[in-house]
């Protein structure tokens, strides 16, 4: 009986036909923020290398990192960093089999969004 009704089976639904949901969007956002932070991380490494090289080279790297464009990258990276951090905490909770039901998962999703905005404001105030 192993070969009954092989083929012509339904495929998994794709992203394009799924209605966007808080749980899927917060999951995708975790991946986007985690990988996008590479830009800021490389900028920071370059900044450290320049500081370790010479005062002239430091002024070039520091000028770029603290320019309006650098500030923009750093601001969104801090927002992404706190979002990714809170989403990571959510995964550490989920790993224990806790909070996987939809109402709790959605509450945790809103906590990640709201918490990351709040932590970003605190960071901007603290380091500005």
């Amino acid at each position: 009986m192993a070969d009954v009704n092989r083929g012509n089976r339904p495929l998994s639904p794709h992203l394009t036909i799924y209605r966007p949901q808080l749980t899927s969007m917060t999951s995708i956002l975790t991946r986007i923020t985690g990988n996008a932070m590479l830009i800021a991380a490389l900028m920071i490494v370059w900044w450290f290398l320049a500081a370790a090289s010479s005062e002239d080279y430091f002024s070039i790297a520091n000028g770029f990192v603290t320019s309006w464009f650098g500030d923009l990258v750093m601001f969104f990276s801090v927002l992404g960093l706190w979002y990714h951090t809170l989403a990571g905490v959510r995964h550490l909770i989920w790993d224990n089999g806790i909070g996987l039901d939809i109402p709790t998962a959605e509450k945790l999703g809103w906590a990640c969004i709201g918490g990351s905005v709040l932590l970003t404001l605190i960071t901007v105030v603290a380091v500005a």
Binding site: D3, F48, N62, T85, D95, A126
Partner: protein, 123 residues
Amino acid sequence: MAYLTDRKRAMGLGSAKTGTEHFWAMKVSSVALLILIPLFVFTFGAALGGAYEEIIAYYSRPGPAIIAALTLVVGFKHFNDGVQTLIEDYVPGTSQKVAIILMTCLSYGAAAVGVFAIAKLAL
């Protein structure tokens, strides 16, 4: 073939032959970063925008220097494990292997450059 059960036919063919170690590495680095990231954000954030002499003096202190070096090492390891999963999900075939190798070289390279620079600043 007809006598093979579905389970027997599928065994060993799935994508998930391994992965526990990757999951565990991700878990360890994420918990480490949970401690390191707030420390790094508020030390690096305090230093950024300072003059050259201030930066040199600040990163000559062991605390900020060790926090920054550890954050870069653990952060790039965590990034490398994460981006590997991203590539495995979206890039097929040989390009997948090339992309994983490139991102691994970039991750370890950037971490090494960062640690070298911080050590040079601190000493």
